[in-house]
Amino acid sequence: MKHRRRLGALGVAALAGTLMLAGCAKDVNGPGSGASSGGGSGTGQGCKLAAQPPAAPAAATSSQEQGKGVDGSKMRVGLAYDIGGRGDASFNDAAYRGLEEARAKLGVKDSREVSAQPNETEDQRQSRLRQLADDGFNPIITVGYSYAESLKAVAKQRPKTQFAIVDDDTIKLPNVHPLVFASEQGSFLIGVAAAYKSKNCHIGFVGGVRTPLIQAFEAGYLQGAKAAAPGIKIEDDYLKPAGDNSGFNDPSTASLKASGQLQKGADVIYHAAGASGKGVFDAVKQAGGGALGIGVDSDQYFQPTVANDKDIIMTSMVKKVDQAVFGYLAAFASNKLGGYPKRFDLSTGAVGYTRSGGKINDITGPLDAYKQQIIDGKIQVKDKP
């Protein structure tokens, strides 16, 4: 890993040099660059790319030695999923993987998983959490910001129980630990990657539901794409308005939206639409001509539900809920919750992009360079469009 990264960094340095010679813009997909992924029907020659930031120093990877030698066998872990529960191939499943890891590495034996249902009322969510606490589960992890109001009420009533909540940081209570992700930072890199890979210099975004959480993905993506290629054209669609969560489980509408974007000329489409994403991938695959799709949350290249579309999945913006959940459990077991991070961004490695399938191996140099800029605070990524 380390070796490869250093090579990449060298490559970036070299590329940066040629960029400076060539002026402030260069066509990466042009002849000689060898970056074309081939088979494109688009007429475009790719984007006029902006000068790329200086190469990233080959940073040491942060150690992932959390939880070694920690004994969690006495822990009784409660896990409250958001709507969809286990098997949603999205963040509920990711939280479950975190629990599984804790079982394997910390020896957690007793756990209970409960799940929210569509259209349930506030009191049902509260009852669920209260029951977990009263049955002695501690800590309790709630997955999703829809638990925020309920958790605020229950955590006050059960001060001896430790809670964690994914995707919300509004609760200021000593026994509530937020686990939020800088999705906009990961999405920025995805935007850069899309701009580098688009042959028509025309990309798309499909969001599931127009909520602030998803708009952070959109905002980062747009900012990243424009930073890499100021002249880029971007299609930007949502499936459903805020409040209508069916947008996260509506592949057919997603497929229509994506087809529309492809017809307008977009050839790289990023989705942040949960299970609807399958529709986006299907549409991209059907369009052919070298069009590519970008996954979200987990590495969708390996996801069984979209296995048929594997060959057009360029990369995925990963949001490692599993890593955060496992880390939280490990910190709880070793009594070090106080020092455990509450916000996970590029520097922690809990958000980022995947290289499975090898479609972006040729542009990891610039991606790492942008990543370093964000970590160093030289690029501020907005979480609102």
């Binding site: 249902q117 259209n119 009191d123 669920r128 127009r210 805020a242």
Partner: protein, 356 residues
């Protein structure tokens, strides 16, 4: 007896059918049902059953008003969601003395519900458009309206990843009845009772109620009796919409104080089920609403014993279906015995007349 028996049979049938489903999926039905029932005594479940039961009851009434007039107002869903966001925005924006603040919020909600029902009402009365079609379309439009209104640059306030209207200040809230660790009963549970009494009185004891039911049963006969059918359609639809507007008020003014993207949906559809179970009678709707609410709340406990809670959804569906079927069977049998009785009476009367 003939009014309650079919419902009881339907529930027993649903329990049996769900037991079979539980057995097939390898769970213990006795354990599942005892867990659900004992759940009522635990924590705040009993109070929650009543609180949500009140909400379902209002929804059932709103649907039943339409049913009485032979109008299938599927649009309760859209009407209440339109009303609650308008009322939440209004309630969060104004500052009025306690009491007046609350009353005006309720008024705004009822008017907003009626306004949203006015569209299908006018289409039905003057253009003969089926209210089923128009209200379904309006239901889906309301999602867009809510989505726009709750945006931060409109009336929404963002907190973390949540979006909701500005909270209603204490002057507009309705205090509940605190019952200690058992929870807090919504103050507006009594609004539901009041609406139930009003429904019973208006439809059963007034001329307007008679005219409404008459034009529902036969528009031509009612017209011959001097009832303006068009006017009745408008009034029934608006009334139904106004009651629909109040559905979410117990929750809005008793617990949530704002309306946001996490708000539950579907009360309008629950209302249809509850009105069907209750056969449009206020007590029937009340029982149906409490039953439905009990099933919803005690389902939460099924997760604890590892039983899939979808079993409750199956049960709710089976109850509605079998209630409808059971009543139809009873109605036909009653009709048959009635016909036989009339027949024998007619024949005996004829012979008696012949002798005279």
């Amino acid at each position: 007896m003939n009014r309650i028996l079919p419902a009881i049979l339907a529930v027993i049938f649903a329990v049996l059918l769900c037991s079979v489903a539980l057995l097939i999926s390898g769970d213990d039905p006795v354990q599942a049902f005892t867990t659900m029932i004992t759940q009522v005594g635990e924590g705040q479940t009993a109070v929650n059953v009543i609180n949500t039961g009140a909400v379902y009851f209002i929804a059932g009434l709103a649907v039943a008003i339409g049913f009485k007039m032979n109008l299938f107002n599927i649009g309760i869903e859209g009407q209440y969601r339109f009303a609650v966001i308008v009322a939440a925005i209004y309630g969060g924006a104004v500052h009025l003395p306690p009491g007046i603040h609350t009353l005006t919020i309720l008024l705004v909600a009822a008017v907003a519900g009626a306004v949203y029902a006015l569209i299908p009402a006018l289409l039905k009365a003057y253009r003969g458009v089926s209210e089923v079609i128009s209200t379904i379309m309006l239901n889906s439009i309301v999602a867009g309206i809510t989505g726009v209104l709750v945006k931060p640059d409109m009336f929404g306030v963002q907190s973390g990843n949540n979006l909701a209207t500005a909270p209603i200040p204490p002057s507009g809230r309705v205090p509940g009845i605190p019952l200690g660790s058992a929870g807090t009963l919504f103050g507006l549970v009594f609004l539901a009772v009041l609406l139930g009494v009003g429904y019973w009185f208006t439809l059963g004891r007034t001329r307007f109620g008679f005219e409404l039911q008459a034009s529902g049963e036969s528009a031509t006969a009612a017209a011959a009796g001097g009832v303006n059918a068009r006017r009745m359609v408008l009034i029934a639809m608006l009334l139904s919409g106004a009651v629909a507007g109040l559905i979410a008020m117990p929750e809005l003014l008793g617990r949530d104080f704002s309306y946001g993207i996490n708000a539950p949906q579907g009360y309008g559809f629950t209302g249809i089920a509850v009105a069907l179970i209750g056969r449009n009678s206020p007590t029937g709707i009340a029982i149906g609403a409490l039953l439905w609410s009990f099933l919803d709340k005690s389902a939460v406990s099924l997760d604890n014993i590892g039983v899939s809670r979808e079993i409750v959804t199956i049960m709710q569906g089976v109850i509605v279906l079998s209630v409808v079927v059971a009543y139809e069977i009873f109605r036909r049998r009653e009709l048959k015995t009635q016909q036989q009785r009339v027949g024998t009476e007619f024949l005996s009367g004829k012979t008696a007349g012949g002798e005279a």
